[in-house]
């Protein structure tokens, strides 16, 4: 079975400072990795995903994440945050089955950007 851990439930950070949101996963098979963002009162939208290839993945809004297989991590980073980045961030893993894919989400990290 697969699982996802997000170690920080809340991360406050000052505007224009860098941020890292941590994600670790466990799985006995190869997985695909995702970061989703949920802005207040909205559904989730995909920030970025890792399927294969380069371990550094760039997403929307200046975010990037690095896949580290040995540490089973997929941490999300941004060099300079904006007020508009205040949101809930979810790390997720997916395993492709024969006819469907099942996505498992972590508990989420609430990012608060302080002006």
């Amino acid at each position: 079975a697969q699982s996802v851990t997000q170690l920080d439930s809340q991360v406050p950070v000052f505007e224009e400072a860098p941020v890292e949101l941590r994600c670790n996963y466990s799985s006995s098979v190869s997985v695909y990795l995702f970061w989703y963002v949920q802005y207040p009162n909205q559904g989730l939208q995909l920030l970025l995903k890792y399927l294969s290839g380069s371990t550094l993945v760039k997403g929307i809004n200046g975010f990037e994440a690095e896949f580290n297989k040995s540490q089973t991590s997929f941490h999300l980073r941004k060099p300079s945050v904006h007020i508009s980045d205040t949101a809930e961030y979810f790390c997720a893993v997916s395993v492709w089955k024969t006819s469907y894919d099942k996505v498992i989400f972590g508990p989420g990290t609430s990012l608060s950007v302080i002006p």
């Binding site: 979810f90 894919d101 989400f105 972590g106």
Partner: protein, 112 residues
């Protein structure tokens, strides 16, 4: 753009009522999902469907059922609502193997 529409943003129901949450997607996606979102627990998969009339239990199916009679519509049914089913419910859809899910805006259900 893909659009996933949930019929209600907010619902208040009484304990014991039968509750229907409706979700419609307009991009001909095979996969559809129902999650519930609770603080500190993230999103937990209730049920998913990979084709019309096909359904699979997720991690927390107890107290719920689903219906997929048409490809674009996936309904979540609470057979007898209970207060512990008060939550935010999110519907999503995706293409098989695409691995990118599109989410609706959510339905916040309160059971009193």
């Amino acid at each position: 753009d893909v659009k996933v529409t949930q019929s209600s943003r907010y619902l208040v129901k009484r304990t014991g009522e039968k509750v229907f949450l409706e979700c419609v997607q307009d991009m001909d996606h095979e996969n559809m999902f129902w999650y519930r979102q609770d603080p500190g627990l993230g999103l937990r998969l209730i049920y998913f469907s990979y084709d019309v009339k096909m359904k699979e239990k997720g991690d927390i199916p107890e107290g719920y059922s689903v219906s997929r009679e048409k490809k674009e519509r996936f309904s979540l049914i609470l057979e007898s609502a209970s207060t512990n089913q008060t939550s935010m419910y999110l519907c999503a859809s995706s293409l098989p193997g695409n691995l990118k899910a599109f989410f609706g805006q959510g339905t916040r259900l309160t059971v009193v």
